[in-house]
Symmetry: C2
Subunit: 147 residues, 2 copies
């Protein structure tokens, strides 16, 4: 297993992982993003996100996709948008390796901490994050407007 930063050539495989997670989260119909948009948004002059990929057997089997946010309470934060390991490679420590590498990236980029969200029924994810001492805030509602 090898961890490295993603390159533009990886985008089709990254998009497949995004879709795999959307199916797991029971909302594939909510995905309006495309590989073309991901390429433009993540690999130009002002990338909107970064990706650490996990490779095994000559293919991408997991990723951590993150970007930076700003908390008016805490300052610069790394936000972990997606931590995904493809189904057939779960249970081998890849998720932990990716999460640890993401924590390192947050330190390296001078963040005061990191943040993420998890669905309330995703018990395996919640239990995994609790091993890091994470406590969860459950009192926030997410609003959005789509244009």
């Amino acid at each position: 297993m090898n961890l490295r930063k993603a390159t533009p050539a990886d985008v089709p495989q990254l998009y497949n992982l995004v879709m795999e997670l959307a199916v797991y989260e029971k909302a594939p119909e909510q995905v309006s993003n495309t590989p073309e948009m991901m390429l433009r948004d993540g690999f130009g002059d002002n990338p909107l996100y970064g990706v650490i990929v996990a490779e095994a057997d000559d293919k991408i089997v997991g990723m951590s996709l993150y970007y930076f946010r700003y908390s008016t309470w805490k300052g610069k934060r790394l936000y972990l948008e997606d931590l995904i390991v493809t189904e057939s490679y779960r249970g081998k420590g890849l998720g932990k390796a990716l999460f640890d590498a993401t924590i390192e990236e947050a330190h390296r980029t001078h963040c005061t901490g990191m943040m993420w969200q998890v669905l309330d029924w995703n018990t395996p994810a919640i239990e995994f994050y609790k091993t890091y001492g994470t406590r969860f805030d459950t009192e926030w509602w997410n609003g959005h407007l789509d244009f």
Copy 2:
């Protein structure tokens, strides 16, 4: 009432609004941010956030503080971190003017939509956002690690 982008000279007043909201949200002890950090993070070469301020009677009485996020499902999103109107100026339409200006900013910067969070007990805010047709997702938990 006048709306404009914030300047570095506004930071002390912006910080006061952040603290006012933190007290309203019953968590002022969670604020480790400082005016010095806000100045560095929002007004350098790669600002981590933007602010629209509302001025009245020669002072700043409200603000919308936002930044850009990346949704692997939806693409580029404007995230509204804080929408604040100081207590003595509420009920005059300033919040709506700031929110409308933020929507305009999201369009101008080619976002596919905008997002924000609200505390589940903050009924006035929830009712306000519902007038825009907002529906809220309540099934996500927020995790974080502080360094």
